[in-house]
């Protein structure tokens, strides 16, 4: 259709104009009304869209927060508690009971507690930055103090100095802290060993244990690494003895050459370090009296052992120089800047859990488990108490404690310990057969890297044996300095999966190489991992077992890991038994954790 003259003359009026001008007044009124209504309609839609959009925006903002590594809904009533390994089983049992109560928050959410196992040292490290837990239950308040010290240092770095002298109080990483149980650190010894040391007639202390271990090569004792309260205390006691004082340990005294030489000599007598006390108990049960003569642990372990092993009794020796308490605090974290805040509901769950843990019924259960309850109205020598009528533990003890140095000195002791502890020669024997291809190999590489990073002693030596159809590569034992770490990292990164599984030959080789070092000063170990069945070795199982059981120049502990369900667990168990070590299972989700745990033995 051609445009009209008017249209040509008035192009700015638009295409509707002819229609408008051609209508009657009533039609125009109706049209006007329609336009107004349409405008109102648009306005209404815009308002509704605005509100909906705002809500969507808010939701989106929430989702962004939730996508982070440490995310939870803003009304979350699920409290995640990091628990130290020694307490984990007991704590989990109590948490199950708590969850079963089905308590609710005021807004109707069900209170839930979940736990994750971490060593106290790991709790401190993780608590400093966006932890995936809101509360922590280490074995001692020592760790909370270390956390506060490091947190305070971080805050000082972040806060701009404004020149005003603010009162330096109340700015802490932990909010509410509740203590729900306690147990003194003791030297647990078999009864005949304790009597040999002079118990019960004479006071026995760290000095006697250290002298016995130094004088008698057959004496086998152990303490955990300094990542646990009992290990830290044993180490502190050595530093005190080395410095010739019982209080006032300073950084200067702790790092004095004579002190370090003394600690090094004592540490050389430690059979190996280790992880949680419960694993140690399992090993004692499995290997019996010959496994260790004495070990440093919480008193509750002695109670627990004697309750189920009447034939071979452990005795708690309360060190004459003084000891330390594992005081089992439960602490709620405060939120740091740029972190998901601990929700009000999580705070409520924490307080409900604290109330539950300190309730009379739970406190009595903790007493049954060998802990000293925080409820002071519960007597330790009442009928039915594991402390009543036993001389293996003494509720009147300890009479004195060692002075706990400042957090800075404790940190120095922890760091210096790596240079005084018994050195390690460890071969990582790794299966890279064809079945390891894909995610398994990726996870294994990460786990091996984590293991190497955990070994921090400057005298530790680590080697790598990679096997498939045969020995693919045999990296020698070398001191783990910075250059060596880089070499190992490259070697691990370059591993490829192919071939069959010559497990026995690889273990044989590693064992032979360590024996050749003839290094009796060090902890010697093989950490063997495989995901499959032995099918390519030239040697048989019996030969290898015979070899492992023979007395050689050095004692070698063999840890074996079955990665996934396809591994020959019976064979790995047999190898571990013959090597005086442990057999463990792992999968892609926990292989790294397992390597980290095994590293604590060195």
């Amino acid at each position: 259709m051609r445009p009209s003259t008017a249209e040509r003359r008035s192009p700015a009026r638009g295409p509707l104009w002819p229609w408008w001008s051609g209508r009657s007044a009533s039609q125009r009124s109706c049209a006007l009304l329609g336009i107004v209504i349409a405008a109102l309609l648009c306005l209404g839609c815009l308002v509704a869209a605005g509100i909906a959009g705002g809500r969507l925006w808010n939701n989106a903002t929430g989702r962004v927060q939730e996508e982070g590594p440490t995310a939870w809904p803003s009304d979350s009533a699920t409290l995640t508690v990091a628990v130290s390994p020694g307490m984990k089983d007991v704590f989990d049992g109590l948490v199950d009971d708590f969850n079963r109560q089905g308590r609710s928050t005021p807004d109707g959410n069900t209170m839930q507690v979940q736990t994750m196992e971490l060593s106290p040292q790991e709790m401190v490290d993780k608590s400093l930055r966006m932890p995936d837990f809101q509360a922590l239950a280490p074995d001692s308040s020592l760790w909370l103090n270390q956390l506060e010290r490091r947190w305070s240092a971080l805050q000082e770095e972040h806060e701009a100095a404004d020149g005003e002298a603010l009162i330096p109080l109340g700015n802490r990483r932990t909010g509410a802290v509740v203590r729900y149980a306690a147990s003194p650190i003791v030297i647990a010894a078999w009864e005949e060993v304790a009597r040999d040391l002079g118990w019960p007639a004479e006071a026995v202390g760290w000095e006697e244990i250290q002298r016995k271990a130094t004088d008698d090569p057959a004496f086998k004792w152990n303490h955990p690494s300094t990542s646990h309260a009992s290990g830290l205390l044993a180490t502190l006691a050595e530093f005190y003895a080395g410095a010739g004082v019982t209080r006032g340990l300073t950084e200067e005294k702790a790092t004095d050459a004579e002190t370090l030489a003394y600690v090094q000599a004592v540490e050389a007598t430690v059979r190996f370090y280790g992880e949680s006390e419960d694993v140690l108990i399992e090993q004692l049960a499995a290997e019996g009296r010959g496994f260790l003569d004495a070990f440093v642990t919480q008193e509750r372990v002695v109670v627990s052992w004697n309750a189920t092993h009447g034939d071979q009794r452990l005795v708690a020796i309360y060190p004459a120089e003084g000891t330390l308490w594992a005081d089992h605090p439960l602490a709620l974290l405060t939120s740091g800047a740029d972190e998901m805040p601990v929700t009000d509901n999580q705070g409520r769950v924490f307080h409900a859990l604290a109330e539950f843990l300190t309730s009379r019924a739970v406190q009595k259960r903790l007493l049954e488990a060998g802990y000293r309850p925080a409820d002071l109205e519960i007597s330790l020598d009442q009928a039915g108490s594991p402390f009543a009528g036993s001389d293996a533990v003494d509720w009147r003890q300890p009479e004195t404690t060692l002075q706990i140095p400042s957090a800075s000195v404790v940190e120095v002791v922890q760091n210096v310990w790596w240079y005084t502890k018994r050195p390690t020669n460890v071969y990582l024997v790794v299966d890279t057969s064809g079945s390891m291809a894909g995610d398994k190999l990726s996870r294994t590489k990460e786990a091996l890297q984590a293991f190497v990073s955990q070994i921090r002693g400057d005298r530790d030596r680590v080697g790598l044996i990679e096997f498939g159809t045969d020995l693919k590569s045999t990296d020698p034992l070398e001191r783990l300095d910075d250059v060596r770490r880089l070499e190992l990292a490259e070697r691990i990164a370059g591993m490829e999966a192919n071939g069959e599984t010559a497990l026995l030959d690889a273990v044989w080789y590693g064992h032979e190489r360590i024996q050749q070092t003839a290094d009796r000063e060090a902890i010697n170990a093989l950490v063997v991992m495989t995901d499959g069945q032995e099918n390519a070795s030239g040697r048989g199982v019996s030969d290898l077992v015979w070899r492992l059981e023979q007395e050689g120049p050095v004692d070698i502990i063999v840890f074996t890991i079955a990665f996934g369900r396809g591994a020959d667990e019976a064979l790995l168990q047999r190898i571990a038994d013959a090597g005086g070590g442990q057999f463990r299972r792992a999968d892609e989700t926990d292989i790294e954790d397992l390597y980290r745990v095994i590293s604590t033995y060195f």
Binding site: C30, L40, G44, G322, W325, R372, L376
Partner: protein, 417 residues
């Protein structure tokens, strides 16, 4: 389009507009920062931040109060109690962690964020001692140019209970100290602390090790600061301690030797007397702690360790008066402030003052005697040295801000570090 259709469209459009506007109305009403908030609340919450020594009693009193269904002008009241050491709270006031509004804030037109931030603002603070209120007030006066806590008038800080610092020493150890020194004082405790041979040198048991002093960590417990000020008072023989006194090298050396006998300052919790009971003489032979804390834990000590504590009253005493202090700034409403006064009246009632005796607290109301209740700990533990009437002694004056900072700094450098 015919008229009927236009009418139909118009009705739909009007309905949509009504819905849209009503949604907007609701959104504004539910927005806490909006201007359409109702003035009369459905209920009133009194948030009480209380010092640790009185917390169990205050919490029990709050439960009793809440259970009675209290109302103010027809609006139901509810008291919420949060425990926080007085010094820690002072540090938080000092940094304005609770989020008091700036001096130039438009109180009538607060943003949603400002409103939300004030939801947990304390209505009442019950610190350990009046001097903490004065220090917090001074801090805010500098920041805001006005008082936030009052010293007179209806909302003035009023003590709700009192207690003082006394020596609490395990009986077996106390006997040896008395035999050796004839008295218990900071001077004799210092001599015991520096005995190189430990307890055997004082004719005590070898198994007791060295003399171990209990002093609360001042970073977590106001009692630690009080103990050190008491020690300074006795050292100088006067009640007013200055920064110059604290920085005197001879005094610092003396205090350093004293603190060298503390077994575990670094990880000590805020609940020192409770720790004293839980860990017994293994962590401390004795120390100067709050009388009420010692009395509350006496039974636990007997149950767990058999060896009881004995109380001795020092020549220079430090009192805690636990003032009930209402925040008078615009962060809390007038209704909340008045509700706080209702709870204060409850705490000061004869019944609650008598119930404080069961917590080892001395009543603020002078008409209530310390033996007024059958469960009074002053009656129960009379044989352990607790005195209904405190022996004549000099009361230490409260530290000013500079003294407080100097002591905290000294502690940080010489004990914690």
């Amino acid at each position: 389009m015919n008229r009927t259709r236009w009418i139909f469209v118009a009705i739909v459009a009007v309905a949509v507009v009504i819905v849209g506007v009503s949604l907007l109305w609701r959104a504004l009403r539910t927005d806490p920062g909006g201007q359409l908030t109702v003035e009369r609340p459905e209920d009133i919450t009194v948030r009480v931040l209380t010092a640790l020594p009185v917390e169990p009693w205050v919490r029990a009193a709050a439960d009793d109060f809440n259970g009675s269904g209290p109302e103010l002008d027809g609006v139901p009241l509810h008291v919420e109690v949060t425990a926080m050491d007085g010094l820690s709270a002072l540090g938080r006031w000092d940094r304005n962690d609770f989020g008091a509004l700036p001096a130039n804030a438009d109180v009538e037109n607060l943003t949603a964020e400002q409103e939300a931030a004030l939801e947990d603002f304390p209505t009442v603070w019950i610190p350990d001692s009046r001097y903490l209120v004065e220090l917090a007030n001074a801090s805010y006066k500098e920041r805001l140019g006005r008082d936030v806590f009052l010293t007179d008038g209806q909302y003035r800080a009023r003590p709700i209970a009192i207690s003082l610092f006394t020596w609490g020493i395990y009986e077996s150890r106390a006997q040896v100290l008395e035999d050796a020194f004839a008295e218990i004082s900071w001077r004799t405790i210092h001599d015991a602390a520096v005995a190189k041979g430990g307890w055997p040198e004082l004719d005590g048991e070898a198994s007791w090790g060295y003399f171990k002093l209990v002093v609360p960590n001042p970073n977590k417990n106001a009692g630690g600061l009080a103990a050190m000020i008491g020690a300074a008072g006795e050292y100088y023989g006067r009640t007013d301690i200055s920064v110059e006194d604290l920085t005197d090298p001879a005094f610092q050396a003396w205090l350093g030797e004293l603190m060298g006998a503390v077994t575990d300052v670094s990880s000590a919790s805020a609940y020192t007397a409770e720790d004293f009971a839980l860990f017994g003489y293994s962590v401390g032979d004795g120390g100067q702690l709050l009388e009420s804390d010692l009395l509350q834990n006496m039974q636990g000590i007997l149950t767990r360790w058999e060896d009881p504590l004995v109380l001795y009253y020092p020549d220079y005493v430090t009192w805690f008066d636990f003032p009930f202090t209402v925040w008078i700034g615009p962060e809390t409403s007038a209704l909340e402030k008045n509700a706080a006064l209702a709870f204060q009246d409850h705490l000061l009632s004869a019944a609650q003052q008598e119930s404080a005796l069961a917590y080892g607290l001395r009543p603020a109301n002078p008409e209530v005697a310390v033996d007024a209740a059958t469960d009074s700990l002053f009656v129960k533990w009379a044989d352990q040295g607790v005195e209904p009437v405190v022996p004549r002694a000099d009361a230490m004056r409260s530290p000013n801000r500079d003294v407080l900072l100097a002591l905290l700094r000294w502690f940080e450098l010489n004990v914690v570090e």
